[in-house]
Symmetry: none
């Protein structure tokens, strides 16, 4: 069955709010196996809502609208939909009582205009609203399905889950299940090259998405039960691990810093961090996670040479000979921050985040990361591009990823 | 002029990402005075993108597409648009060189498929991408305008601002000009209470927006020239400063950390920061800004008591008597980090970011901030609520705001 979403609201067209309802319902449609090919946003305007309905029903069997169920004059979704289907609006006394009671509870008399929210489209099924005053409707007419939902996500989401989902899920035989693999260190186009044949497959389907600084692979299988679908997914996941294994750092929603924290905890490793160009970002990333206090010993943000010298014991001769942005400086920073803190692991970053260079011949984007892991010294030279923010963020993620590989 | 937005991407239809581009461009269209009545989301499918273009041009003079400019086979927006306008795609050697150089800098050969991103629609104007590899296009043909933009907001937004805005703003006679005031320390509803009468005005209009942790006030006036509009805006801005002055920390896009950096630079102040619960976030916020190396001396992330003792000289007796989360500890951390670095200003944070407490009776959300400014010691007690991330972020912003007031 083909579904289209129509979000109604001038505030959406003015950019005052984001249409998160669209994303939520898209996800739900995908999970339930409905085909969703178009979404439309339209303002609170009779002619244009009618036009959006006409176009949507020329392509789909079911339309879900969100928004435009408020009490004021510009909220007209229900009215326009009723006219579109040649139906009248009918007052539901039970819903009216509920709205009146809601106001009573707040010790406020119900404004007359709110009465409007207790009307439903004739012959439609009422969708109760336990989190607000506007009721929704589910209408089946002339082979078409229409679902009218309120705009605020706090009302729309429970109404979808409790009222709509049980009504429409029997309309689809097969549902879809997905697993996600998170990939770092190679770009979307390289991922494509590695798995081009798998991307052509139909069930399960494999699709890569470029996220901000990594790639997410989605594997989706359809089936009459989750178990059946998971067998298909596992089969292809094995293949993906064989081809991309070294780049897969986690599954699902698990972030890179979470995987690193987990590994550190597993080994009971203590870590200390000395940052120059990343200026605290690397430490902040790890400290985001609760429970990190057992692992994280200390961070020093040694942005100046004086601080590198005084707080990290980097000799002035080294700074003079190699510069602060050098593998020698990075390795000694990592070693010293570890030793000072009796930590198993010391990590350091030093580089040129831009926008301008440090008056040496070293280019913007040159970063050295120092690793001191259980007494073993190592370094990594990065050549990054982009804005100052991007260079700092990429340094942090690359460092976490490399650390993970070394653990 | 009527504009429509078409966001292209199957990942949008599957609910994998939110269409924040839609909100951003809607806002920009409203500001520039373009009429925007519909937005559409469509998948990476030739037939359906063509259909979306056909419908959009039946109602509007200009279409802006976002997404579908990636290197892989399913990225087809440019190709479909070219066919729609009966044009061919042409390779831009300059863009190709730029993409190759980007890969070279990373020491990776450019995959062949990326070449595709250097093609533009014949007779269109190239929109340069300084933050990614896909170029955009601006085509005028048969009285129709077409703007093709990449999907990642980090590429789309600068391309709109730097390339598209100067091209399309002359198309509107009466344009809208806006000024923004950034407000910290009071919520959106309190702002509403203070300026209720001003919110009713028509030209200029005043509208508050709740941002992540502050409130943005937009003042918009229409006029045939910016100067005329600015006179109206200035008039109402004066009134807003009278009512909300102490809470307005900046205008336009200037962030709190930028205002702080500016003040620090004005006074030639040197700053050093000792963080516990914010774990590097405060330092990272300041170090985001270029040129901060003249101001920022050192940061220490003293997450453990041992580190507070060793690196910041907090006596064990103090830690035992008052605990690490105390005004005494905060003030001494601030003083010592300043003195150790010969800095004019020392700032410290120590608190309980949650989700659980520190085994004392102190509640989650209790944070002490220490200030040591030109020899004067002070502290601030915060009682925050929300997630670990929110408590850390609010601590950082409140600290920056308070520091600004003290400077």
């Amino acid at each position: 069955m083909r579904v289209e979403l129509i979000a109604v609201g001038t505030e959406l067209l003015l950019g005052d709010i984001t249409n998160t309802n669209g994303q939520y319902l898209s996800k739900k449609m995908a999970e339930s196996g409905f085909a969703l090919y178009y979404q439309t946003i339209v303002g609170d305007n009779e002619k244009r809502i009618t036009e959006a309905l006409r176009i949507a029903y020329s392509r789909a069997d079911m339309v879900i609208t969100t928004g435009g169920l408020g009490p004021t004059d510009d909220d007209i979704t229900k009215e326009v939909c009723a006219t579109f289907f040649n139906k009248s609006l009918v007052l539901d006394p039970y819903s009216l009582k509920k709205i009146e009671a809601m106001y009573q509870q707040r010790n406020v008399p119900m404004p007359d205009i709110n009465k409007k929210q207790a009307y439903y489209i004739d012959e439609s099924q009422i969708l109760e609203n336990h989190n607000g005053s506007a009721i929704g409707c589910y209408l089946q007419s002339e082979g078409k399905h229409l679902i009218i939902l309120p705009g605020p996500p706090s009302e729309m989401i429970p109404m979808y889950e409790n009222e709509v989902f049980p009504l429409i899920s029997p309309l689809q035989e097969e549902t879809f299940f997905s697993n996600y693999l998170n990939i770092f260190g190679i770009g979307e186009s390289s991922v494509n090259d590695f798995i081009r044949d798998l991307l052509q497959k139909n069930n399960p389907t494999v699709a890569p998405y470029a996220k901000d600084h990594y790639v997410k692979l989605r594997i989706t299988a359809s089936g009459t039960s989750e178990n059946i679908a998971q067998v298909e997914i596992d089969h292809i996941k094995k293949e993906l691990y064989q081809r991309l294994g070294e780049h897969i750092f986690s599954e699902g929603d698990c972030s890179l810093e979470e995987v690193v924290q987990k590994k550190l905890t597993e080994h009971s490793y203590k870590i200390a961090i000395a940052e120059s160009c990343t200026g605290g970002l690397l430490s902040a990333k790890l400290i985001r996670l609760p429970g990190i206090s057992n692992t994280f010993k200390e961070g020093i943000i040694a942005y100046s040479n004086a601080s590198k010298n005084r707080s990290l014991g980097i000799p002035e001769t080294l700074l003079k000979k190699h510069g602060a942005v050098s593998k020698e400086c990075a390795m000694l920073m990592a070693k010293n921050i570890a030793l000072q803190n009796y930590a198993d692991i010391g990590i350091s970053t030093t580089g040129i985040a831009g926008p301008s260079s440090d008056h040496t011949e070293k280019p913007v984007g040159l970063v050295y990361v120092g690793y001191y892991i259980n007494g073993k010294e190592d370094y990594q030279e990065l050549r990054l591009s982009g804005s100052r923010d991007k260079i700092r963020e990429m340094t942090v993620l690359t460092t976490l990823y490399t650390l993970l590989k070394k653990l």
